[in-house]
């Protein structure tokens, strides 16, 4: 028998390639004297040395698996140590970590043992016990097991805050190559079922307070980047379709980390594509918060994102006709399109300009990155005549103001 520490090491190690760490959007209140509540915006309790957030106890119930997906550490042909938690062990770990304020809750996934229903039923048993017997109101992110029956999925949705299924490979062809036992359809079907149930129950809640909460923090998925030969366009168009078709809250992009010497995959010890991953997240942000359409960022003639400049700057350089934007008169959505101006600064600008025309020094204090923005705006103290620079010249000037191009550092969003 493995000791609990060894099990935890094995099953945390196997779960860490799932990058989702969100813990916001749950809305469970602590009524009476139970344990825990959920925080509207989520909390990152710690950060690992790779700079990723630790918000949830992210573990597999077991890393035994009947599937042999080439990109996965737990694939059945991989010669690794296997382990499985008992229900009791997962419950105790979750409760005791939570009571010490280590975590916001539990992220529970699993290898598939026996079959989908058998696995889903075990996962369900754990979350049910946490919610009912332990009166636990913390956050629970639960994997939906593709192929599990709708009854099990429906019941799990009553206890989980978020559910997710990873698409992993952005194209069907990629999936066929690396995980021939799986298909996009097997992922889309449960995503669709849960999405429709969420919509239906939200509707019913408008009429009756007694309708229970169902997956209140919505669904998410993950796409692996760089395991197969997809373009950025393939990845983002797939993400965009999933956001729209299944009402997803988040799509995560996970730069593939070589874990296998399989000839279908990038070589062991090759560097994970971190910069590319970051550019994808930036684009995802532009689509969700900045009013961009995916077709404005990528199209058939332009299937890869520029690695040298961020996608917002890239768009601005391709569209000189949209600039300069007059900070003191332009609509909010155009202010938001200026490279170097984020959502926070854009909001402050439209408030502040009611009190008087804004100058460069005020923009700088508000938080605008003028090294980028200055080429795209006019404000109260802009020179009445300024030489018009070509997109290429602007690009060169901005790159000159940025620190030397170091991929490992480029991990923040704007």
């Amino acid at each position: 028998m493995l000791r609990i520490t060894e099990k935890l090491e094995i099953l945390a190690d196997a779960a860490k390639y799932d990058v989702s760490c969100a813990s916001g959007g749950g809305s469970r209140k602590n009524k009476g004297k139970g344990l825990g509540n959920s925080h509207a915006s989520g909390i990152c309790h710690s950060y690992t040395e790779d700079g990723r957030c630790v918000s949830l106890l992210k573990i597999l119930l077991t890393n035994h698996c009947i599937y042999d997906c080439a990109f996965c550490v737990s694939r059945r042909s991989n010669d690794i140590q296997r382990a499985a938690f008992t229900v009791q062990e997962v419950v105790e770990l979750t409760i005791n970590f939570y009571r010490r304020n280590y975590i916001e809750g539990l992220f529970l996934s699993s290898g598939i043992f026996k079959d989908a229903d058998y696995t889903m039923e075990r996962l369900l048993r754990i979350v049910k016990r946490l919610r009912t017997e332990e009166r636990f109101n913390g956050y629970i992110h639960l994997k939906t097991i593709p192929g599990a029956s709708e009854e099990l999925i429906r019941e799990a949705g009553l206890y989980a805050d978020r559910m997710s299924i990873n698409l992993e490979l952005p194209t069907e062809a990629g999936l066929k190559l690396l995980a021939p036992e799986k298909s996009h359809e097997s992922v889309e079907k449960p995503l669709d079922y849960i999405n429709k149930s969420i919509i239906r129950l939200q509707d019913e809640r408008k009429h009756s307070k007694h309708v229970p909460k169902f997956v209140p923090a919505g669904q998410s998925t993950q796409l692996v980047v760089g395991a197969t030969a997809e373009s950025d366009k393939d990845i983002l168009y797939t993400a965009d379709r999933f956001y729209r078709d299944f009402g997803l809250k988040r799509v995560y992009y996970s730069g593939y980390i070589p874990i296998s010497d399989d000839s279908r995959l990038p070589q062991l010890h090759s560097q994970p594509p971190l910069l590319r991953e970051n550019r994808l997240y930036q684009s995802d942000w532009l689509i969700r918060f900045y009013g961009f359409e995916v077709s404005e960022l990528l199209h058939a003639d332009n299937p890869f994102l520029d690695v040298e400049v961020d996608p917002k700057l890239g768009w601005a350089l391709r569209h000189p006709e949209a600039f300069p934007v007059d900070i003191n008169t332009a609509a909010y959505r155009m202010v938001l399109r200026v490279p170097g101006i984020g959502v926070g600064s854009a909001k402050k600008i439209v408030e502040a300009r009611k009190f008087g025309r804004l100058r460069f020094d005020q923009l700088k204090r508000i938080g605008v990155a003028l090294n980028r923005a200055r080429h795209f705006i006019r404000c109260a103290d802009s020179a009445s005549f300024s030489p018009e620079l070509s997109s290429m010249e602007i690009r060169q000037r901005i790159l000159a103001t940025q620190r030397r191009f170091r991929p490992a550092d480029q991990l923040t969003l704007f």
Binding site: I4, T5, L8, E9, A12, D13, K16, Y17, K29, N30, G32, K33, G34, L35, G36, N37, H39, I43, C44, H45, S46, Y47, T48, E49, D50, G51, R52, C53, V54, L57, K58, L93, N96, F97, R99, R100, N101, Y102, G255, I257, P258, P272, L274, K348, I349, E351, A352, R353, K354, F355, G356, L358, R359, Q362, R365, I366, A408, D409, L411, T412
Partner: protein
């Protein structure tokens, strides 16, 4: 120029504002008692914190800037920063003179400063909600010591009271020498009996015989988990340290 010396609290600051109106003074500077040095030039007036005066000013502010505006002003005050106090003093004067809208005049240096201080304090509040690490003591009390950059205990009180409603807990601010204690029913501010010389240490310094029996096991499990959640191929210490600056490490179980 007149300088008002107050005790550094919100009540003190509001009393100072009240005094300014009473005296119809202009161009007033404010300074907290702790930072005050006698040698400063000009006239000094010592402000007595007066709940009644403070309440009147606060009600006036609530009418003009609403609850959101007021909580921003309160947060900025908890920064305990000399510049923030002065900006707050000026902004509040402006609010009474020109109306509550001035709070969104981000082109104004003082308004922007107050908003930025409020943001910094809120970030610290959020950090404390994240970085508090409880240790279960033998008597069942969950204990945590912290040293936040700003005086954020009043802001995290509700969060922890709501969350840990079925366990007794104590969060102690070692810098400011006071704590929040929840006894299973309600939360109150407490001062502990540390003598004047010994600085309360990090949680690591608690002798093991004072800990609950299962405490070392869970600390061990948490440390192992933290190690295993890391992906070495993605190592990025710069980002790691940006997210958890080193000054917080001594109170984080996973960093001991």
């Amino acid at each position: 120029m007149e300088t008002y010396v107050f005790d550094g609290s919100l009540v003190g600051l509001l009393s100072a504002i009240f005094t300014r109106y009473e005296r119809r003074a202009a161009g007033v500077g404010v300074i907290a008692q702790a930072a005050h040095q006698q040698a400063l030039l000009g006239t000094h007036l010592s402000i007595r914190s007066d709940e009644g005066q403070a309440t009147r000013v606060w009600r006036g502010l609530l009418d003009r800037v609403g609850a959101d505006g007021c909580s921003r002003l309160y947060a900025a005050c908890l920064s305990e920063d000399a510049g923030a106090y002065q900006s707050l003093f000026n902004v509040v004067h402006d609010v009474f003179d020109r109306g509550g809208e001035v709070l969104s005049d981000f082109g104004n240096t003082d308004v922007l400063a107050v908003s930025q201080w409020a943001r910094k304090v809120h970030r610290e509040k959020h950090r404390m909600e994240a970085f508090v690490r409880f240790q279960r003591l033998a008597d069942g009390l969950y204990f945590s010591s912290v040293e936040p950059d700003f005086n954020v205990l009043p802001l995290i009180r509700k969060h922890f009271t709501d969350r840990y409603a079925d366990q007794r807990w104590l969060i102690h601010d070692g810098k400011r020498r006071y704590g929040l204690y929840y006894d299973g029913v309600s939360t109150s501010e407490v001062t502990l009996g540390f003598d004047g010389h010994t600085q309360p240490g990090s949680g690591k310094s608690i002798p093991v015989e004072l800990l609950a029996e299962d405490e070392p096991l869970y600390q061990q499990l948490w440390k192992r988990y933290f190690q295993r959640a890391n992906i070495p191929a993605r190592k990025n210490m710069k980002l790691h340290i940006r997210h958890i600056p080193k000054r917080y490490w001594r109170h984080l179980t996973e960093k001991w």
